[in-house]
């Protein structure tokens, strides 16, 4: 029971990966709190003073030609992902730094590191989270708070985008060296490892669980 007496907070509870994370962490004794999207970061943090692991999931973004993208669509999504993440990190991270124990893991896509046409805003948010991960990790390293970015391809049952655009499941499988998409529990296993004391010296780094996607350099 690696997470006995530890509390894990997760955003975007309606996503299948959130449920898989809950199962994985509870299986190791953790108490899991889903962060309600309507609750402010400060209120959540007051109600739950001890959070040992914060897992930031993001909503799916609509994808398509950037010139056709409506500001009224992307602005609230940037607020709900990037700005919300910073608010939660500040509110919850304060307690982690004070207790000198904590792990913050963003689970996001691969478009923060590579160009995905039609994904400009989503990739900007992911790239921003990668930068945040690195700088915050080195800032809080001495406080024993680790910060990580888990980069994945969309898992089984997860929508790649909010508007049904982007790659189909068959296209994702064809492009993935392991020739399948991830099960949500496989991604949760990686997140749980990174959150555990077994990964106590791993911080400030993207970790990819992508079935080899990032290692593939040819058309397919």
């Amino acid at each position: 029971m690696e997470f006995l007496n530890r509390v894990v907070a997760i955003t975007e509870s309606e996503r299948p990966i959130a449920q898989a994370l809950k199962t994985a962490f509870e299986g190791e004794g953790a108490k899991v709190e889903m962060i309600p999207s309507e609750q402010s970061a400060a209120e959540f943090s007051r109600a739950h003073p001890q959070i040992d692991t914060l897992i930031l999931l993001f909503p799916a973004f609509p994808v398509g030609p950037t010139l056709a993208l409506d500001e009224t669509v992307w602005e609230p999504l940037v607020n709900r992902s990037l700005l919300r993440a910073i608010q939660l990190i500040k509110a919850i991270g304060a307690g982690m730094v004070a207790r000198r124990r904590g792990v913050i893991i963003t689970i996001g896509g691969l478009a923060g590191s590579n160009g995905w046409p039609g994904w400009a805003v989503a990739s900007a948010v992911q790239g921003a989270m990668l930068g945040l991960t690195r700088s915050l990790a080195v800032e809080w390293a001495q406080s024993n708070v680790r910060v990580l970015y888990l980069a994945t391809t969309p898992a089984e049952g997860e929508a790649a985008s909010a508007n049904g655009a982007g790659p189909t499941s068959a296209e994702l499988i064809a492009r993935t060296p392991l020739q399948r998409v991830a099960r949500a529990d496989e991604l949760a296993n990686v997140a749980r490892y990174l959150a555990s004391d077994r990964a106590s010296f791993t911080t400030g780094t993207p970790v990819r669980a992508d079935g080899g996607w990032s290692s593939w350099g040819l058309l397919k």
Partner: protein, 256 residues
């Protein structure tokens, strides 16, 4: 201990001492048959004997990873003895320090032979067996020096950077056979071999190494072996082509 590797066969190169031995020991503690291999045959035998005295399954073979024929023969021997080979860890390594103007050809070649060609031919031999027997997991020992350069370590850094690319190429090529290939990139670890890594010109003391880490400490050997074991385990079933940093923030750091 839980038995993540019960009944599996794990080969670790360069495992007579230090991180390699720690990895082999950790695999054995979690139920694997540990196969220790090292250029120092006597030391490897003694290490395996010591593990057996702890009621762990361990066996040692001499191996010079610079010799592909020796590697292929070892894979065959392991296959004959256990009827399986599930995990292969390319760990063997060494560290020279040399001003690049004066680095002798033999030392450049030695570093690349052990730390780049060794992992390639090790993976090739183990990978062929795994391809024909339903898959497996290969873990390469890279280094933060694959991403972050260090003066006077041209051969070491180049070999380790090569290992990261090798990891990705083999991952993309062999995923279809159920073979996952990953790497671990530790920052300098407080080992007995650490003296080798202290340079009379570059980083000159342990405290300089310690302070280069945002966490202001060095990795414990166990922190490195945990990453190796995780990547070799079924828990990492969707992870391939990845280089996992175990570095206290070393690679992330880019400030003063």
């Amino acid at each position: 201990m839980n038995g993540r590797f019960t009944g599996r066969v794990a080969v670790v190169t360069g495992s007579a001492q230090s991180i390699g031995l720690e990895c082999a020991t950790a695999f054995a503690r979690e139920g694997a048959h540990a196969v220790l291999t090292d250029i120092n045959a006597e030391q490897a035998q003694a290490a395996a004997q010591s593990l057996r005295e702890q009621n762990l399954s361990a066996i040692a073979f001499p191996l010079d990873v610079r010799e592909p024929e020796q590697i292929a023969a070892l894979v065959q021997r392991v296959a004959e003895q256990f009827g399986q080979l599930d995990i292969w860890v390319n760990n063997a390594g060494l560290a020279h320090h040399y001003d690049s103007f004066d680095l002798p050809r033999e030392l450049w070649q030695h570093s690349l032979d052990v730390m780049l060609s060794g992992p390639f031919f090790g993976s090739q031999a183990a990978g062929k067996y795994m391809r024909d027997h339903g898959g497996g997991a290969i873990v390469n020992m890279a280094s933060v020096n694959a991403m972050v350069p260090q003066p006077r370590r041209a051969a070491y850094c180049s070999a380790k950077a090569g290992v990261v690319m090798l990891t990705q190429v083999l991952a993309s090529e062999w995923a279809q056979y159920g073979i996952r290939v990953n790497a671990v990139a530790p920052s300098p670890v407080a080992t007995s071999g650490m003296a080798q890594a202290i340079d009379s010109v570059g980083i000159t003391s342990l405290s300089q190494y310690t302070n280069r880490h945002p966490m202001k400490r060095m990795a414990a050997m166990q922190e490195v072996t945990e990453a190796v074991l995780f990547l070799a385990s079924d828990q990492a079933s969707f992870v391939t082509g990845e280089t996992l940093c175990v570095d206290g923030g070393w690679v992330a750091y880019g400030y003063l």
